[in-house]
């Protein structure tokens, strides 16, 4: 029994040693813009429209490269998944612009290709996260207007309190990215990438039958710099 364990350990060491010898830890910082769209069920609210909104993203990525073409990347990102809802026709001017802050922790398999200094890469994985807060700004109707009836008389800009019956603050989904990295010094590289995050989780808990769905669909464009902690 002990001999079997020793044999297996020896084989594992023989296989892994060359890999570990090439492994690198990298850490960095990244930031950019995100454009989020709310994927929402429509029903008979014909002139209630949804549009995407753009805001920012910052993150701290950590990468472990097993080989020059394969690694794992995890990061902590703070980003806004905003969207707007507005009315058309006679209700024009009635609008709600939501700012929703999230923290996401994506984990990716990283595949890279190309030369020694400039390399393209793909990220494929998923993310976990949390919805941190929500604000809404816009205009709507107010009763008892003294200067004529308008559907956009009242302007608001306020925090939206979470409703524990409705709001699902857990966020998780799939994510992928395409980018290019340039190694400009022995320990430093810069990168630029386009990323997509699709929330599999609904923004709402399942609290009603025939519930309309609400999912975030987020594109990010960001640049960053990586620092190599351990070298080959």
């Amino acid at each position: 029994m002990n001999a079997t364990i020793i044999k297996l350990a020896s084989i594992a060491a023989m296989v892994c040693t060359p890999v570990l010898a090439m492994a690198q830890w990298k850490v960095g910082i990244e930031g950019g813009v995100v454009h989020n769209t709310l994927l929402v069920s429509k029903c008979y609210d014909y002139d209630r429209h949804y549009s995407g909104a753009t805001n920012g993203i910052i993150g701290v990525p950590v990468r472990y490269d097993f080989r020059d073409w394969f690694g794992l990347q995890a990061e902590v990102s703070y980003l806004a998944k905003n969207y707007s809802m507005y009315r058309s026709d006679i209700y024009e001017g009635n609008s709600y612009n939501y700012t929703n802050s999230y923290i996401n922790i994506p984990i990716y398999a990283r595949f890279s290709f190309g030369g020694s200094k400039v390399r393209g890469y793909l990220l494929a994985g998923g993310f976990l996260g949390a919805w941190l807060d929500s604000y809404v700004e816009g205009n709507q109707m107010r009763y008892f207007q003294t200067d004529g009836q308008s559907y956009s008389d009242y302007h608001f800009d306020e925090k939206v309190p979470f409703d524990s019956r409705r709001d699902n603050r857990f966020d998780a989904g799939l994510s992928g990215a395409i980018g290019v990295e340039y190694q400009f010094a022995k320990r430093f590289s810069v990168f630029v990438e386009g990323r997509y995050l699709y929330s599999l989780t609904d923004m709402q808990k399942e609290y009603m039958l025939k519930q309309p769905t609400k999912h975030n669909s987020t594109f990010a464009f960001q640049v960053g710099v990586m620092y190599t902690i351990t070298t080959k």
Binding site: T37, L39, V40, S41, K42, C43, Y44, D45, Y46, D47, R48, W69, M85, Y91, Y96, A109, F111, F113, L122, A124, V136, Q140, M141, R142, Y143, F144, T146, Y154, F156, E158, V160, D163, R165, R166, L174, G176, A177, I178, Y196, Y198, Q204, Y207, M208, L209, K210, Q211, P212, T213, K214, H215, S217
Partner: protein
């Protein structure tokens, strides 16, 4: 191997992007536009969907609407329009379904095969009748008798009043020589502002305030009042204000989810510019008393709410109906509120109101500062004990 892996990753990424951009549309018609109903199950589905997405009070309503679907849906299966017994069973089920809805404006009207109203269900009326202080509405003739009796007693003078053919009545008089009183059966002043008799009542109301030498107070009597236009509050209360008042907030729906609500919009009433104000008198320190009762609903409750928010405002009488969500009469305004199709009409509020204290009193009513119950026996003799208590409060401050 490496190239294959990269290609698979690219294909996966593109697939996610493409499929995630599709909208998920619910297969539900606007109940307002629904024309074809084959049986009572179709009516139930239309009604249930309309309520599910468009009822304004799901935040506070105790009815478990999911349970309604599970419990009642199957009971409508097989109930046909052309079988009288089936229709009676269906009507009974609808009555059960809406029996605990909190909206006290709410009325569900089922239609017959010709599209005419067949059954009416107003759950708020049943709740009102269960209150231990419930009393029936009285007529304008009863009010006239009270005014005449008190005129004979010397307590009421300078009376001007009118009842129009549409049932709308409005009156004003001077009580005890120092209190200006305005009463109305519904809030239809602005609808009838061109009617000379109505104008005379208002002119009398303003002139009593302006010209009564030792004015001690003002009473706005919205008892027995069925509500009406928000514009009437401009005519009645704005002339009495010297500064804006915030007397509550409204919100409606901004999504199809039951708990998707707009932000709260404040209910603010502003004073007239001095040059436009029909009341020229400084009313600082002059109490304004709202007189309301269990049959005061909608604007007849919102007006006492506004009066209570005035620095010199008070309310006397009974806890009101509790049906004070504003109505726009058009589901497409906020995709909430009243809807009507070939099978049914649902009369319900477009928005919900909370008062300045942050509480919503829909289904409960506005509680007066001083509770005075209706005394039917004395009223029949011409003695309006609630009015007398309001006068006593104005004269004594307690």
């Amino acid at each position: 191997m490496k190239i294959k892996t990269i290609l698979v990753a690219i294909a996966t990424f593109c697939g996610i992007c493409i499929t995630s951009c599709q909208e998920d549309n619910l297969d539900v018609l606007n109940p307002n536009d629904q024309r074809i109903f084959l049986n009572w199950r179709d009516v139930f589905e239309s009604y249930w969907n309309g309520m599910n997405y468009s009822y304004a009070f799901w935040d506070i309503d105790p009815t478990d609407w999911d349970e309604v679907y599970r419990e009642y849906g199957a009971q409508f299966d097989g109930l046909e329009f052309d079988v009288k017994e089936d229709s009676i069973v269906a009507a009974g089920l609808f009555e059960d379904i809406c029996s605990n809805l909190i909206d006290h404006h709410y009325t569900l009207i089922l239609k017959d095969e010709h599209g005419n109203p067949w059954k009416f269900f107003a759950p708020g009326d049943n709740e009102l009748k269960s209150r231990d202080y419930y009393h029936e509405k009285y007529s304008f003739d009863d009010i006239t008798k009270v005014i005449d009796h008190n005129h004979d007693l010397g307590r009421i003078s300078d009376t001007v009043g009118v009842m129009l053919n549409n049932g709308f009545a409005v009156w004003s008089y001077l009580l005890d020589g120092d209190i200006a009183v305005l009463g109305l059966s519904s809030f239809k002043i602005s609808q009838n502002k061109e009617v000379e008799d109505v104008q005379e009542v208002l002119e009398n109301y303003y002139s009593l305030i302006n010209e009564t030498e030792n004015l001690k107070g003002i009473i706005i009597d919205t008892r027995n009042n069925t509500g009406g236009s928000t514009d009437d509050m401009f005519i009645i209360l704005r002339p009495l204000l010297s500064e804006p008042i915030n007397f509550g907030y409204t919100r409606s729906k901004n999504g199809l989810g039951r708990l998707d609500y707009t932000p709260w919009s404040p209910l603010i009433l502003t004073p007239f510019e001095p040059e436009d104000n029909p009341v020229e008198r400084n009313l600082e320190g002059v109490p304004v008393v709202a007189l309301a009762d269990i049959n005061s609903i909608s604007m007849a409750e919102i007006t006492p709410m506004a009066i209570m928010a005035m620095p010199n405002g008070f309310m006397i009488g009974e806890r009101t109906t509790g049906g004070h969500g504003p109505l726009n009469f058009n589901i497409n305004d906020f995709y909430t509120g009243e809807l009507e199709n070939k099978a049914f009409r649902m009369y319900t509020s477009t928005s919900m109101i909370k008062r300045a204290d942050g509480m919503c009193y829909e289904g409960y009513g506005v509680v007066p500062d001083i509770e005075v119950m209706f005394n039917a026996e004395e009223f029949s003799k011409g003695n309006d004990t609630q009015l007398y208590r309001a006068a006593e409060f104005i004269h004594t401050g307690k």
